[in-house]
């Protein structure tokens, strides 16, 4: 497994993926959109053309039946990437293949394999029942007669909307609409499912149930390859086998959540002491050996937790312990704490991490 972290602004350094077994392969994908200009600017320079880069040389691969997360802030390029995968937008450069089929040249066949779950509830027909919505799309997916009817009933059962009867979708809760959107996407037995922020309109409990459904039903039973775009780190942690961190159209890192967390330079440590020495800590900060020091409140038993970061790794950490002991600071416990994923992403995006490549 290759994990590569690049600082913000640096070109993507993701190695080319050559695994032919990959279900989805994205290679050097680039997309720019024209920027809407103001009236005055247009009048002054009518022929000028400004473009904003949405994706810049994005490269990664997703294995069969893998749950792959695309993490990034709003505007990172996740939705654009999904729309290119779904052949709704044409790329400017690079190639994207789904099961070996090019999404531009073989778009019709790709649409038979891949199903984007369009998270917009308005894309449902609100004046129809769930069954009627599914019947319509079953027909558009070439599922006729009894076959289509069976698939519709099956999916309504799986997604837990079988008891909605003739109730119009407009009267559904957001959670039920999300389930219907999933059911609609699953109609054609897709090999790849694209989920773009599927839990954004769900309450925390609904979101948790939905994640359980995705893990147990979609991946475990349906054996779908799933790409999920989200800006919720906990969602990625809970669901994804691997994640890619996308920032302003550039892939900053790809790997499992644990790999990313354990390889980040400058790990965080917790130190428990009965007498924190401010002077000793300040001295180490001044030397650049430690940083981001937070001295907590003293607990009932007199222990104080000091949070600190040691950029130099375990060897420097032992030097820090020795230095603090030399300053007569009694240390009862010293432990490495993995960075929470959310913070990790924030750091990668902010470009505070160092480039790291490890096979």
């Amino acid at each position: 497994m290759t994990v590569t972290l690049t600082p913000a602004g640096a070109p993507a350094q993701i190695s080319r993926v050559s695994d032919s077994a990959s279900m989805v392969r994205v290679d050097g994908l680039t997309k720019r959109f024209p920027v809407r200009r103001g009236w005055m600017d247009t009048l002054r320079h009518p022929l000028a053309r400004e473009e904003a880069t949405a994706l810049a040389g994005v490269t990664f691969a997703v294995e069969r039946s893998e749950f792959f997360g695309l993490l990034g802030e709003n505007g990172a390029g996740k939705t654009t990437l999904f729309k290119i995968l779904a052949s709704l937008i044409m790329p400017d450069a690079g190639t994207v293949t789904v099961n070996g089929l090019d999404v531009v040249k073989d778009s019709a066949r790709v649409r038979g394999l891949l199903a984007p779950v369009i998270a917009d509830e308005r894309s449902l027909n609100w004046r129809l029942s769930a069954r009627e919505n599914l019947r319509l799309f079953a027909a558009l997916h070439n599922l006729r007669g009894a076959t289509g009817e069976r698939r519709v009933s099956e999916l309504m059962e799986i997604t837990g909307i079988a008891d909605t009867g003739t109730k119009m979708v407009g009267q559904f809760s957001s959670g039920m609409k999300q389930r219907l959107l999933i059911a609609r996407a699953l109609l054609s037995h897709p090999s790849v499912l694209l989920l773009d922020e599927p839990t954004r309109s769900l309450d925390p409990l609904g979101a948790r149930r939905f994640r359980e459904f995705l893990r147990d039903e979609i991946v475990a039973r349906q054996r779908c390859t799933v790409l999920i775009a989200t800006h919720r780190a906990e969602e990625a942690l809970e669901l994804c086998d691997r994640i890619a961190i996308l920032d302003r159209g550039v892939v900053r890192a790809v790997g499992t959540p644990n790999e990313l967390a354990s390889r980040i330079v400058g790990e965080r440590y917790h130190l428990w002491t009965l007498a924190p020495s401010h002077a000793a800590l300040a001295c180490l900060v001044a030397q650049g050996t430690i940083n981001n020091v937070v001295i907590g409140e003293c607990d009932e038993d007199g222990w104080t937790c000091v949070q600190l970061e040691i950029p130099g790794g375990p060897r420097t950490a032992s030097d820090v312990i020795a230095a603090l002991a030399a300053e007569h600071m009694p240390i009862a416990s010293f432990e490495r704490v993995r960075l929470p994923l959310a913070e990790l992403i924030e750091r990668i995006v902010a470009g505070r991490s160092a480039v790291l490549a490890d096979a």
Binding site: K31, F33, P34, A54, T80, K83, A86, L88, I89, M90, A108, R111, G112, A115, P116, I118, D120, R122, S123, N125, R127, L128, E132, R135, L136, F137, A138, A139, L140, H141, N142, R144, M168, R184, S188
Partner: protein
Amino acid sequence: MHKLFALVRASWLVGASYRMAIITSFGSLIVTVVPVFYIARAMQPMMGKVVQGQGGDFFGFVLVGMVAFMFIGIAVGTLPGIISGSVSSGTLEAYLTTPSSLPTVLAGLMSYDFLWSFARAVVLVVTGAVLGAHIAWSKSLLAIGILALIVLSYLPFGILGASLMLWFRTTGPLPKAVIGLSGFLGGVYYPTHVIPSWLHSVSSAIPLTYGLRALRRVMLEGKPLSAVASDLGILTLFIVGLCTLSVLAFSRALHDAKRSGSLAQY
């Protein structure tokens, strides 16, 4: 075909969920046709000779004009409306992610409006017949064929409007200009030979002029196909030329929308 049926069925179910709208849709036809009958009857002594070559009955003349005009409104306005509505709601994107082709989806979505208009046209014509309009029922199939040609000759304007909708998010004045010009100069409420001579050249560039003339001769006078062949030939030329132009424009607009990513941005 089953895809078209599914789309028509879904549109019908949506339409049927607005029960009041259905009732008023048919009710308004009765309210419209009755005053037209009385006005036409009052004007018959003056207009009878003017419409001599197209049935001779002014009420029947206007009735057929109203039916054709209703269809060109649908042909010109429906497709841009569907594009506009489905782009803003995201349904177009949802349809485009299925293996069904865009022309199939759009044809299915439009079909309901045409079928609905057909039902309304039948009510209109039957009401007119009850009120005294002379209809050559034996030529119904031929009349429906001519009506289909009229629709096909105006559909390209709808496709052009849809292209403009994809490019600029507005059709601009195109639909109103086409419908307005056709209404005034296409012979809907009066025959084209009564308009000023300097406008005749404009009138002859309007497909409705030929379509309506043929439709009236068949529906009101019971003429055979051979009697209206020349008008239908010209109408066919319009269809071929305009369809080619509009399909090219739409393909380009769709390509540009996919390039710019604007298919789901309203």
